[in-house]
């Protein structure tokens, strides 16, 4: 294996980390708003889930804002929100859960991309702790979406979100 580096990675986000984390922050803010829309449209049990997961995404946005300080995104990612708000606000519980299953899977892939890019360890630790739970979100939502096969719960074939498709 490569000789171990003698320079410890930086703790704080670097300049190039900040742009990547800003994108993640804008997406998390949008997810919070999308879950709020879903909460109004969901049945009793799914509402419990959308409220809980929405609160988690708010916590992610707040933590990323804390990490980024004055460099934090000032608003949600509008193009991402616009692309999914209709699907997040209507449909049966299974359809709503299916929408959010797909979004959570995309966010897992997006954050894995973030993790593979940023060098600061503070940001890496935060993003890793988010990824771990978003995978759990997806597993729960798969059940509400009527997915019974293990592959539908455990496998993630989603594509990551990118700044070209969803500019901040």
């Amino acid at each position: 294996m490569d000789a171990p580096t003698t320079t410890a990675p930086p703790k704080q986000p670097t300049k190039s980390d900040i742009a990547v984390l800003q994108f993640a922050h804008g997406i998390e803010l949008a997810m919070t708003a999308l879950y709020a829309k879903a909460s109004a449209a969901a049945g009793k049990d799914l509402k419990v889930v959308t409220d809980l997961f929405g609160a988690h995404h708010l916590a992610y946005a707040q933590s990323l804002a804390g990490l980024l300080g004055r460099s934090a995104a000032t608003a949600q990612n509008a193009s991402f929100y616009t692309a999914f708000v209709a699907a997040a606000a209507s449909g049966s519980d299974a359809e709503l859960a299916g929408t959010f299953l797909s979004l959570e899977n995309s966010l897992v892939k997006t954050h894995l991309g973030v993790l593979g890019t940023i060098t600061g360890t503070d940001g890496a630790q935060l993003v890793a702790s988010i990824i771990s739970v978003q995978g759990r979100h997806a597993a729960v939502l798969a059940g509400f979406a009527g997915k019974k096969a293990l592959g539908d719960i455990l496998d993630n074939a989603a594509e990551p979100l990118d700044t070209k498709t969803y500019p901040a």
Binding site: M1, D2, P9, V48, L115, A128, I130, I131, R136, L154
Partner: protein, 281 residues
């Protein structure tokens, strides 16, 4: 004379005798210990008896290679445990479907181990393709003893082996997920962090599926507390962020108070890593 009939003004009384005698004994012992006798070679602390010579472990650092080797070893712990569990023949009747879940998880861990070995090989490192002995010794063997019983150790078998196997599996999957998350802070290269967490995220999904199997329905999704024991119930999503805390697994035959033995698991730290000098036996 005082009330105890000892004359304190006398140059020799019992208290003074004891004080003087004690001091003399202590001084003699100290001088003997400091002496250059055959039992205290120059530069060594004095000691009584023979101490067998020890060989220290080589100096090693938790490099990226070591972290990935350790993660691989944990995958083999899971593979071996699931193999043993499947051989117990517990998954019959209403639990027959659980065998498919266990088989899928075992296959996932095999794929993870292969992927990690691939990353290590690609970086010209040496793979480590066996279970972590320290994890076996600290967690898995004691857990299996509590479930299956161990006559030699005086441990009775569990009354609810299937429930305990599920609890152990949840503990192991959570341990694996936490390990990858923890190692993100130790790995030096971003691409390795992403590769590790890509696997860690799958372990988290395993844990969520198991938590729902143990504590099904809407009540088992978020965090909750068992009213009887005051301990947290298994939850598919126990909190907003991935925890790095101790994982408590309750297993075995309940004691007189009705409590099972709690096994506390923690992510492999410096004393449990698969350093470069460690070999699979």
């Amino acid at each position: 004379m005082n009330s105890n009939n000892f004359d304190m003004s006398s140059p020799v009384n019992r208290r003074r005798f004891l004080l003087t005698g004690g001091f003399a004994i202590a001084t003699t012992t100290l001088l003997a210990a400091c002496g250059k006798g055959p039992q205290s070679p120059a530069g060594a602390f004095p000691r009584i008896g023979e101490v067998p010579p020890t060989t220290g472990l080589p100096t090693a650092a938790p490099t990226d290679e070591v972290l990935l080797r350790t993660a691989t070893s944990l995958e083999f712990n899971a593979i071996d445990t699931y193999k043993k569990v499947l051989e117990l023949g517990l998954f019959t009747g209403s639990a027959a479907g659980t065998a498919a879940v266990v088989n899928r998880f075992k296959a996932d861990h095999e794929a993870h181990a292969k992927a990690l070995s691939g990353v290590i090989t690609e970086a010209k490192g040496e793979t480590f393709e066996c279970a972590n002995e320290q994890i076996n010794k600290l967690y898995i063997n004691p857990a299996l003893d509590l479930i299956l019983g161990n006559k030699d150790a005086g441990i009775a078998a569990s009354d609810t082996p299937l429930d305990d196997v599920m609890a152990l599996a949840l503990g192991l999957e959570t341990l694996a997920a936490e390990t990858y998350q923890f190692y993100v802070s130790l790995l030096s290269q971003p691409k390795l962090r992403a590769a590790a967490m890509g696997i860690g995220e799958q372990e988290s999904r395993h844990a969520a599926v198991l938590a729902q199997a143990i504590n099904p329905g809407i009540a088992g999704i978020g965090p909750s507390t068992n009213e009887k024991t005051g301990k947290p119930n298994p939850a598919a999503v126990p909190g907003p962020f991935g925890s790095l805390g101790t994982i408590a697994v309750a297993l075995g035959k309940p004691n007189e108070a009705g409590n099972k033995t709690t096994l506390n698991m923690e992510t492999p730290s410096l004393n449990s890593m698969a350093y470069e000098y460690a070999k699979c036996s």
